[in-house]
Symmetry: C2
Subunit: 295 residues, 2 copies
């Protein structure tokens, strides 16, 4: 099958590679970077624009950084929308605003096309291993068409709801919990360490009880061992919490601890830590307490 | 062995029962409530005061609600301290201030006695099943003497540090993480629900990924199914966060999200929810958003 794939970055390159490996013919267009050699070897074909990609492919996948990027690719000049027709399927796997997503989907629907928002979690490791978690919003029929492609890129694939934006909303919910669980472990370890306890012993004692979480296990260990290489970078998580806070304002939801977590990330950036793993949020709490977590 | 056990409430009654079942002779004194029939049947003996308990027993366990209660039992008039002597071991299994704990331990040490702070988690269920998590602070020799008794009441038993207060500090760290993970799940589910998603689908999609936690599993389900019967009551968790915030002030630690979580609990109490399970914190977030989590 001809499949368009727009956005061949750290995530998109291995994802498109899996689709090519399965025998699909992949069409793309380039923005700044040249076509990765690996994808050239797999026969990925480069055309002039997103509109051209859509002309050649009934199914177009988008995987770009942020809301304005998706808008440029789909509704911008020379965008996918110019060649959306009856039978087109647009799949946005970027992590963007659920509210902008509804507008994009409406534009695609107006020309007879289907739209699925399908942001992922699992990072570069998950993209390479084809084990991404994929959270989807869109009509059942659109999801059913997309699912065989998702199966080539991910493992835990859920249709959250038939309204477009449901996938993006779920992704934001994920990023809220991850950020706040990091903040929770950070507060607990800074508190315990400044009180004179070995934070590693505290972490061990809490694993398995009601305080246990994936974050206590993975990011708690990073905070104690001072391993702040990403992983998932603080400046990316700031983008996601910005989506959370903007969407919350639009929806009429109050997210007090998400707001604080964003401010702590801002403090990390201000102190040169924007490229750290998001477990580096603990450093902002350490600055507040004038104390570094130490065993 | 003669063992003193002061504080035969919801937790203390089954804990003392396990010690009696193992063949120990249990001595207690009563405050307001009569001796539970079950413990009378097991031969638990009532004497006049904490001092009298300490006169009869080298090892005295205390399990009462709050810091002032422990102070009354140990250093108050007719308290345990009056008969502490070389060879005495005082074990405080209440959840109280780590700073007050240091003073209590110093008073016991000054009369030649040993002190272990050993707060628990696992609640009434864990107390009855003898599966409590026990977090300990105190000298290794004191811990070694106490451990065979802990083995009769709990499962995951850790000496956090040899300084008294380390157990209490770890318990506070546990309560910080539990409260903040509840808050995190609450923010995510209110956000997703107000955005029109089925919160049960969102919870399912997030389980197994980086957002996964014991709280998402257990308390997330409670928020969705509106099962707010305790469990662990909000007014008890307020007591624990009060310890966290007071200790943080004394230590010079800043706990911004713990402070917010306590305010959300306060809102629950103000609205008649102080006796709800702590997953009821979501109701405070729902009031802020004028929206109830619903499928």
């Amino acid at each position: 099958m001809n499949i368009g794939f727009i956005g061949l970055g750290v995530m998109g390159t291995p994802m498109a590679g899996h689709l090519a490996d399965a025998g699909h013919s992949i069409f793309t267009c380039l923005n700044r970077s040249p076509l990765p050699q690996d994808l050239a070897d797999k026969g990925v074909e480069v055309v002039a624009s997103p509109a051209e990609v859509a002309a050649r492919c009934d199914t177009v996948i988008v995987m770009v950084p942020d809301t304005p990027d998706v808008e440029r690719v789909i509704t911008g000049e020379g965008g996918v929308l110019e060649n959306v027709r009856e039978g087109s399927l647009v799949i946005d796997m970027s992590s963007i605003s659920p509210i902008a997503t509804q507008d994009l989907a409406a534009a695609v629907n107006a020309k007879g096309g289907l739209y699925v928002d399908a942001p992922v979690s699992g990072g570069e490791v998950g993209a390479k291993a084809a084990t991404l978690t994929i959270m989807c919003g869109g009509p059942q029929a659109a999801f059913d068409r997309a699912e065989p492609l998702f199966d080539l890129m991910g493992k835990n694939i859920t249709l959250i709801g038939e309204a477009n934006g449901a996938g993006q909303t779920c992704k934001i919910a994920n990023q809220i919990i991850v950020a706040l669980n990091i903040e929770a472990v950070g507060e607990a370890l800074v508190f315990a360490s400044k009180a004179g306890c070995d934070p590693a012993k505290v972490r061990e004692a809490l694993m398995g009880g009601f305080a246990s979480s994936k974050i206590l296990e993975v990011h708690g260990e990073r905070m104690i061992n001072r391993k702040m290489d990403p992983g998932f970078r603080i400046n990316l998580h700031q983008k996601d919490l910005n989506l959370a806070l903007q969407s919350a304002r639009a929806l009429g939801v109050s997210l007090p601890n998400t707001a604080t977590a964003q401010e702590l990330f801002n403090s990390c950036s201000a102190n040169g830590g924007g490229e750290d793993d998001h477990s580096g949020m603990v450093k902002a709490l350490e600055r507040l307490a004038n104390h570094q977590v130490a065993g």
